[in-house]
Amino acid sequence: MSGNVTSKQLLDHYARKVYADAAAAKAVGKPVGWSTAIVPQEFFETMDLPLVYPENHSAVISARKRALGFLERAEGYGYHADVCGYMRVNFGYLLEGARGDDDVPPAPVPDFVVCCNNYCTMIVKWYENLAKELGVPLFMIDMPYNPEGAVDEARVRYIRAQFDRLVGRLEDLTGRPFDRERFRRVMEISRENARLWKRAFELVGHVPSPANGFDFYNYLTLMVFMRGRAETTEVLRLWIREMEGKIARGEGPFRDAAEKFRIMFDGIACWPQLAHTAKAFRSYGINITGSNYPDGWAVQYETGDLDGMARAYASIANNMSLEKAVEKRVEIIRQGRCDGAVYHMNRSCKVMDFTTYEAQRRVFAETGVPYITFDGDQADPRVFVAAQFDTRIQALVEMMEAREESER
């Protein structure tokens, strides 16, 4: 690689490559899978089975303002507009012939599907339907919700047994044995990538922040698609070096403006209105220096410790109690040195929304950081109302300014 390439460029390169590789694999008759976003990819990476992630696919489509046609198609088929927008876009894409174009990445029709429900239950129904409609096998890796905020022994045993069963089924699928040495190497790489991901967050928390806006939502693609690969290590290290450089030079996130306010953005991005929301933030000098969402991919465990791996995957914030959700947000606000918080009441994501009100109150009680909530959707462009968003952001700025004043 040329010495002048940036991490952003590498990211863009890999973001395209994952789809191209999947299409190429499919073309030579290699089985390609579709998977949920925080799956124990280590097993599939070890078996050389390429995975494509429909949630990422739908997010890209929505960010490029192409979601509506697919949503309408899925709704015409009988899916209610109440169900997850990512799911509707995905089914619309299938119903429209699973064709890529300039905006729509070419996700090939899968030969198998993988579902790990460590962050919601909707995906179980999504993948049930995919398996049935496409006539392909479904690998269900069940990680039961943890209502008391800890993954108990019974859950660990259950998940471990599912891991063993998965290995057997993957060996049957591919006709190849599961390479335990390679598995160790993949775990090692995954562990390092998770560590680097966490490190990146620490750096983002610097004042002023070396990362801007929805940056880490973009780098997230690597952690979703290639969490177990050396290429991700390369890009993350480069990004970290770039950020360390900026910190050393005292550079902030914006070229032409100061970082006036720092916020925690809670939830998935409002992809159809990314430009509008990002622009509104910029206009007030607001930078996003913390979010609970990308944190989900920092899956940390010791190499070779499968119990630890089971626990780590089962402990994604969405899968834990209200108390843990509050703890996580407080930690993020503190690490990000946030002045305010913006909660995305994402119509498509009931998991993230159903404890938001109580969590907000508790987080506020603990941190004193002002917050607002806005209505939007991760995929459906029809939900967001610009006037509402603009008014609320302005109100938040006024609250943050007032707090600053009073602390002077």
Binding site: E72, E75, G76, G78, P381, R382, F384, V385, A387
Partner: protein
């Protein structure tokens, strides 16, 4: 042997009288609906045009929102069944009927072999996609509802409205106008909005041509063109498009008599 079909909607009342030969002897539309004098007025106007007295009516069937409470019908039949009958009487080739009323939208799949209605879907929960939506928007634009089609003809492009909710869509339209967007272009967006909403409903049913449009909004050519674009199929307008329900009711009354 005259029969009367009366369609009592929430916003209008329609009456059709069929004569001895089964042809329409008189019909009327009054722009007020259930709970008002509308039904009686429609009834009397139809009688007057038919040149008969109330006692000359052998059987009456009522339909529409107000069918259950109105006194004076021998029986009441749903507007789904009546619209299907009314449309098929004039256009026997119809397979999908879309009725855009004042406050609701229905799509009906008809199958003459099996007894008319095979399937239907309705939206009567919100104003989006109905006549009410157009009334609200017409007011914002300062136009009469009857002029909407004519004004939209001069549009150069479509200014899209993203909100599915009538209230928020109204805000969007106002903000487009205040930014100087030409009225015909905004109107094109409004028509597209109605068309998308209706098309969304119809696609749950499956579009089987020929598609026939009934209801007051069918008179708005702008909506019709937008709907043709969304559904990707030709749309035919039923003659006397507001009266198909009442016609169907009158036909059913006539059938009842022939069965006795």
């Amino acid at each position: 042997m005259h029969t009367l079909g009366i369609d009592i909607g929430s916003a209008s009342s329609k009456a059709v009288i069929l004569g001895d030969n089964g042809e329409v002897a008189g019909q009327a539309v009054v722009p007020v609906g259930t709970g008002t004098t509308g039904p009686e007025r429609a009834l009397h106007e139809a009688l007057r045009l038919a040149g008969i007295a109330p006692g000359d009516v052998a059987r009456t069937v009522a339909t529409g929102y107000g069918r259950v409470t109105w006194q004076g019908a021998d029986r009441q039949v749903s507007e789904i069944t009546c619209h299907a009958r009314g449309v098929l009487h004039r256009m026997p080739e119809a397979r999908t009927i879309i009725d855009i009323g004042g406050q609701d939208v229905k799509a009906i799949e008809v199958d003459p072999d099996r007894g008319f209605v095979r399937n239907f879907v309705m939206n009567d929960k919100c104003a989006a996609g109905t006549g009410r939506f157009l009334e609200v928007m017409a007011r914002v634009l300062g136009l009469e509802v009857e002029r909407l089609a004519e004004v939209s003809e001069t549009s150069a492009r479509t200014v899209s409205i993203s909100s599915i909710c009538t209230v928020f869509a109204e805000s969007e339209v106002i903000s487009h106008l205040s930014r100087g967007e030409p009225v015909p272009d905004v109107l094109a967006g409004i028509h597209q909005s109605v068309a998308k909403r209706v098309a969304g409903l119809v696609s749950r049913l499956g579009v089987r041509p020929p598609v026939v449009l009934t209801g007051g909004v069918a008179k708005n050519r702008g909506v019709v063109l937008a709907l043709e674009k969304e559904l990707r199929t030709e749309i035919r307008i039923a003659p006397s498009c507001q009266l198909t329900g009442a016609l169907g009711a009158a036909l059913i009354a006539r059938e009842d008599l022939s069965k006795k």
